[in-house]
């Protein structure tokens, strides 16, 4: 049976088992929308801005491990989607974005709503396609899903001209497609694995530095087993949180610019570093020259060879999938005659406990003004540490990362690489739709939340009962903090004037709004928001927090990892 291009797009999505398509219609995709109207295999979620469609698809992917799908029209639909695509790209998130394009004969003629989609998105996708012939459509869709999900995951854009969606061809969805130019390495090199294991067993001051790759590669179980077997300390990057349980003794917390004292000190002073699915980001190791001052041997496991020896030279590179490599490492370790050096490890742990005793995340718990950290701590208690937490970008993001202890992977959904303000609300939508029975909270700031606030309407339409926790400090707090520290407290344009009444705003969209001014009301508000009575409702909590609060510890830009500013030092 012949099918139109539009039917083929829709049937491919059904074949892929797609549950949700987040999108927004327009001229170039009307044929596709017409086919969506006629089917019931997947649900279409109509967002209020294309950026949110991509963020929601991205969060669906982050929280489930499956490919997220967004659909937008040509021209402005695409340019609106670019922020979402770039955000997913920087954090290696598997999504497929289908974009409408002007009809093939009109391409290049400055047609109405024409943009060079493939050109505009090229630098921020894993790959993209322009489908010029309907005969290639099904294979291209298959390729898109394979490329997005395998190797180092990432966004793939499929640009479909309007005439192609009308053309007819035989529909066959291939079970798989071989690509001679695309074969990601999965298994680690056995020689390197042996060297790595040897090095781990010889270590006196070992450290495991686990990143987003552990979450993306679903290797938490293997990581936990490895760390327990060896008795080594573990730190997570911002993207790796939940990859190793936060409440476990062996976890030193997050490292990096706003990492804990103990994690950063251990990172700087270790003699053998096992980096797993982490990319030595500048927010993580600070100044590479300072990092290199201490001698250490580095084992680096990553599925993307270009992540290895990019910012820091490593001694044992292992290209492969985290799960596969860790499983191999574990079986080699179990066979090895040598055991970790217990005496050395004990004195290393003594040192680490000394660092930990600084209690670097302590804050004033007796403040008459709401401390943002307190809200996050209470949120953790009220949700029993079992919620999905999305966040926006700023101080609140760092407090969420520091004070909500993630024990499971895929629970912490945020934009690390691009640092995109505005993701929090659409992220929470994507997560809640994927996990209808789960508790989902969005920790945000009064500035960030305004960047995709229109999605409150989408939440109403689809009855998405997320809980929004706004840490309202009336400032772009993260900007204000830098201005305080590095610009002589000249707060240029970082004050958020003329804020709306968020309670009324939430109500105007048909939701529940709460304003919380006093510390003693924090817990009750959270409990109410998560109570059965409000289970079906979106609750917007506007916590009036301390304007002057800063995020500590802090490694200044360009500084070394052990050159931290701590709260007590100010």
């Amino acid at each position: 049976m012949e099918a139109t291009g539009a039917e083929i797009v829709v049937r491919c999505l059904a074949e892929e088992g797609v549950e949700f398509v987040f999108g927004y219609p327009g001229g170039a995709v009307l044929n596709i929308y017409d086919e969506i109207f006629k089917q019931n295999k997947f649900k279409h979620v109509l967002v209020r801005h294309e950026q949110a469609a991509v963020h929601a698809a991205d969060a669906y992917a982050r929280s489930t491990g499956r490919v997220g799908v967004a659909l937008v029209t040509s021209g402005p639909g695409v340019t609106n989607a670019v922020t979402g695509i770039a955000t997913a790209y920087m954090d290696s998130i598997p999504i497929v974005v289908i974009t409408g394009q002007v009809p093939t004969p009109a391409i290049g003629l400055d047609a109405f709503q024409e943009v060079d989609t493939v050109g505009i998105t090229r630098p921020c996708v894993k790959h993209n396609f322009l489908v010029k012939d309907v005969k290639d459509l099904a294979t291209t869709m298959k390729k898109a899903f394979i490329i997005a999900a395998t190797g180092r995951p990432g966004p793939v854009v499929v640009d479909v001209p309007k005439d192609v969606t009308a053309h007819l061809t035989e529909f066959v969805y291939p079970a798989t497609v071989e690509m001679r130019s695309y074969n990601p390495v999965v298994k680690g090199h056995s020689g390197q694995l042996k060297r790595a294991v040897q090095m781990l067993l010889e270590a006196e001051r070992p450290m495991i530095y686990a990143g987003g790759g552990v979450v993306l590669g679903d290797a938490s179980a293997q990581l936990v087993e490895l760390a327990r077997l060896l008795g080594f300390p573990v730190t997570n990057t911002l993207m790796g949180l939940g990859g190793y349980p936060a409440t476990d003794r062996q976890n030193l917390g997050m490292l990096g610019m706003h990492g804990t004292y103990e994690a950063n000190m251990a990172m700087q002073h270790c003699d053998v570093l096992l980096a797993i699915g982490a990319r030595f980001d500048d927010r993580v190791i600070g100044n590479p020259a300072h990092f290199a001052r201490e001698q250490r041997r580095i084992i680096h496991v990553d599925v993307d060879p270009s992540s290895i020896s990019k910012r820091v030279r490593v001694d044992v590179p292992i290209v492969g999938d985290v799960q596969n490599v860790l499983t191999e490492m574990l079986s080699l370790l179990k066979l090895a005659k040598e055991k970790p050096d217990t005496a050395a490890l004990n004195s290393w742990w003594t040192q680490i406990e000394l660092w930990r005793s600084k209690n670097c995340l302590n804050y004033n718990r007796n403040s008459p003004i709401i401390k943002p950290q307190y809200v996050v701590e209470k949120l953790w208690e009220v949700t029993k540490g079992d919620a999905y937490i999305t966040s926006d970008v700023g101080q609140h993001q760092m407090w969420a990362a520091q004070y909500y202890k993630f024990d499971k992977p895929r629970r912490w959904i945020n934009s690390g690489g691009l640092g995109t303000m505005g993701v929090g609300l659409p992220y929470a939508m994507g997560v809640q739709l994927a996990h209808p029975d789960a508790q989902v909270a969005c920790i945000t700031g009064e500035s960030s939340i305004q960047m995709c606030i229109q999605e409150l309407s989408t939440c109403k339409q689809y009855r998405i009962p997320i809980k929004i926790v706004t840490l309202n400090n009336r400032y772009m707090g993260m900007v204000r903090q830098w201005q305080e520290f590095f610009y002589g407290s000249r707060y240029a344009e970082s004050y958020m004037d003329s804020l709306p009444d968020f309670v009324k705003l939430a109500e105007a969209y048909g939701h529940v709004g709460m304003r919380i001014d006093k510390p003693e009301d924090v817990e009750a508000a959270l409990k109410e928001a998560f109570s059965p009575a409000l289970k079906e409702r979106l609750v917007f909590m506007d916590f009036q927090t301390d304007q002057a609060e800063n995020v500590f510890p802090m490694v200044g830009a360009g500084k070394g990892l052990s050159e931290m500013i701590l709260a007590e030092e100010l």
């Binding site: 493939v118 090229r122 790959h127 322009l130 130019s181 270009s306």
Partner: protein
């Protein structure tokens, strides 16, 4: 260090811009870039001449390999190889300089492929540095126009870039 990187890629629309875009986005140098289909029309072969430290070159080859359309990458400079570039030079050829120009061209094994009363067009092939040397050997005042293809390269002996 100067490196000559050869690669095979799918002969798809936009493939060239992926490579060019990669170099500009990551601020890598391109001295020259040449591309043409191979005997198998589904593939193109590209030769990129670039300059960078060992770390940068390592990243360049890794990033090129990462491009989904790229099938295989080889750093020719890592082993013995042959490099050739074609140059066409139009020069003034008048008076006593005319004979001199012919002689210099001969020394460099150039061929005069077009002649007028006042000009020669010379074709030269060789390594980039040989072509540079020719341009240095003649008086710049005589040069009307030059066009160079950029380097192509191939491994010596058994060394080959094949799928």
């Amino acid at each position: 260090m100067r490196h000559i990187i050869s690669l095979l890629m799918e002969n798809e629309a936009g493939a060239l811009s992926r490579v060019a875009g990669l170099f500009s986005a990551r601020a890598y140098n391109i001295e020259s870039l040449t591309v043409a289909p191979t005997e198998d029309a589904t593939m193109s072969r590209m030769t990129i001449v670039t300059i960078g430290s060992e770390d940068v070159i390592e990243q360049i080859t890794k990033q090129l390999n990462k491009l989904v359309d790229v099938i295989k990458v080889m750093d020719l400079t890592e082993g013995s190889h042959i490099e050739r570039e074609l140059m066409l030079v139009k020069v003034k050829a008048v008076g006593p300089g005319r004979e001199e120009m012919k002689r210099t061209s001969d020394i460099f094994r150039g061929r005069i492929i077009d002649v007028t009363d006042a000009t020669y067009t010379i074709e030269l092939t060789g390594t980039g540095s040989k072509l540079d040397a020719f341009l240095e050997a003649i008086d710049p005042a005589f040069i009307i126009e030059t066009v160079r293809t950029g380097a192509s390269g191939i491994g010596r002996g058994e060394r080959s870039l094949k799928v």
